[in-house]
Symmetry: C4
Subunit: 205 residues, 4 copies
């Protein structure tokens, strides 16, 4: 089986997960101080930006990985669905994080839940890299050296959220700051997966 339809499902699901985030941007009803109310909602905007950026970066790196996939088997489809399960769930902890970021007792479980979701996303992504690394018949031979790097990079990304979980018990806001920092790090560090992220005419999807 070629990977064409898996790519279509992935792109559709990412597009929807990215867009559903907007449904949780609060729209104040019957506001009499709209400017004030909108400014007061700043945690929602930060949460929106961080989640959009995190999902967006994951899409870019997943796209890079998939561009080297020649064909797929059923087990890889299942691993991919597990990964998509976590992606699709992101709007939920995002909304909780936006709502409870400033509330003393409730910010902590919201921060733990957010970072735990991202941890699962990183682990599921690392599993995808790892499975393809172990099944070189599924990928382009020229891209094979990139896969151990991909495993490490996804694991590193996922496990960084362990720090965010631990910090959440001391300071939920600092934990959200770490979530944002992880997204920023992966946006800026692009040399991680040699041979995949640099475009080439030979890899067409």
């Amino acid at each position: 089986m070629g990977p064409g339809r898996l790519k279509a499902l992935i792109d559709g699901l990412f597009a929807i997960a990215l867009t559903l985030l907007v449904l949780d941007l609060p729209k104040p009803l019957f506001s009499h101080h709209l400017t004030h109310d909108l400014l007061h909602q700043w945690p929602s905007y930060v949460a929106y930006l961080v989640s959009f950026a995190t999902i967006g970066i994951i899409w870019i790196e997943h796209h890079a990985m998939m561009s080297a996939v020649r064909r797929i088997d059923r087990r890889f489809l299942e691993i991919s669905l597990l990964f998509l399960l976590v992606v699709s769930v992101v709007p939920w902890p995002t909304a909780l994080a936006a709502q409870y970021a400033r509330e003393a007792g409730e910010a902590r479980p919201a921060a733990v839940l957010y970072a735990a979701t991202m941890l699962c996303m990183g682990l599921a992504f690392a599993w995808s890299w790892h499975y393809l690394d172990r099944h070189p018949d599924l990928i382009e031979a020229t891209a094979a050296p990139a896969f151990p790097v991909g495993v490490r990079r996804a694991l590193l990304g996922g496990l960084a959220y362990l720090v965010a979980i631990a910090v959440a018990f001391a300071s939920p806001l600092a934990s959200f700051g770490i979530d944002a920092a992880i997204a920023a790090y992966f946006a800026l560090s692009r040399s991680g997966v040699p041979g995949l992220l640099i475009g080439s005419d030979t890899v067409v999807d």
Copy 2:
């Protein structure tokens, strides 16, 4: 007509059905015991996982079926839309199941509705296999032997929900357990459709 656009509609609709499930994960407003409230919602998480897994597995098997389709006719488009109708409706019984699973009198209709939806999905899927089995001009000749197996497998899956419906009258929770078990069975039993689920370079979509 080639099946390209039907596949695009299917992938889009599955991606949305999978993602819309997240809208029904409850986000407690003004919670003062967020950890407790989140844990209390466990039926929502179980329902999310079971529905995501069920739709995901159906997508994998439908993908396998479609990879053998060479061209389509209008009747097959209509059968496919009927199948998609059932897929698109799944978030609704899922939300009802999550909400009423623990309520004495109301769990029963919720469990019946959930299993009945899955029964319809299985029947519509079986009809797709059956129609293609009867119209070998629409499919790859090499894949033809797989289609009677596909019919049986989809029928078996659908009819298993009859048991879930019957059990719901005695114990709604047991009925939901059967729903989960059916998903697990189909996730694990992958030898059902020989020649389709094993990847090959010649089948490209």
Copy 3:
């Protein structure tokens, strides 16, 4: 420009419009008579089925039309977006129809709005056929004879809703019945556009 990306936008938008309908299926909160409450909502189910069927059939016929399109120009993109505007709006009159079908004074505007939306959909679709009919350089030469038939069929479908609008002033329920009958007629009458709806190996999308 090739029609590839327009098809992708169309398929995505149809998939979402079909799936968003489920968000308006009411989920009774705190019901103590769930079976009764679910049965009481029957207009929602009928509205869901009729709208899903109508959009689905329109997608099939639009798909048939597009399979003969070789390339597109900007004006055709604009006409297509107008058509998609109407498709995307369908969940709104559907929800209103489901909610007000049984209320004496309010069923009438709901029925008029529903039929008027479908009228606009038919007119926008007829315009698409007509534009392509007038620009034979955009379509496959072999399919050209089908386009005047397509114009007539889409116009007939659209204008049939004028009857539904008129009837709504006497009996809103009869008006909804006409909406359902129109969908049924187009589902069953498939000989309307010769050469397009019959699959062929030469038309690949």
Copy 4:
């Protein structure tokens, strides 16, 4: 890397952004004067039409731009995601504009927010044109002369919303009028990007 999957993500996200707008069309509950209530909501319909038209036109022009893209690099993916971030957010200011357009004090921030969102969309789009203009290895050589024109056109479109922002402080309704006029201008002025908007058999996507 070929641009195929970026196009798929873009088309999916645009399709969803266009369709999610319908979720904010108000459905009056328990109305006893449905016709009156529906007519009273006219700002929602205007906002729906203007936002749908604006996003639709942007999609057409972005489509034209992408039809000349031969391959992409990671930086272009990031710029594209920034652009999609703004597109995905549009339903939010649209709903606020519809809700507050007629309220004395609250219309002003709603109008500013709407125009500011569109300003960001224009700037992100201009950045996309500009980046490709500076990296001619990413685009078809024959289309290169169109890219400086594209930059200017997108900048002009974006900066026109500065006027809408300024006018909002004097008259929010006039500001919304300018938003609609900008959409109308770009719908009608199509000679802006020579060589891209005219279809050709050689550019197939």
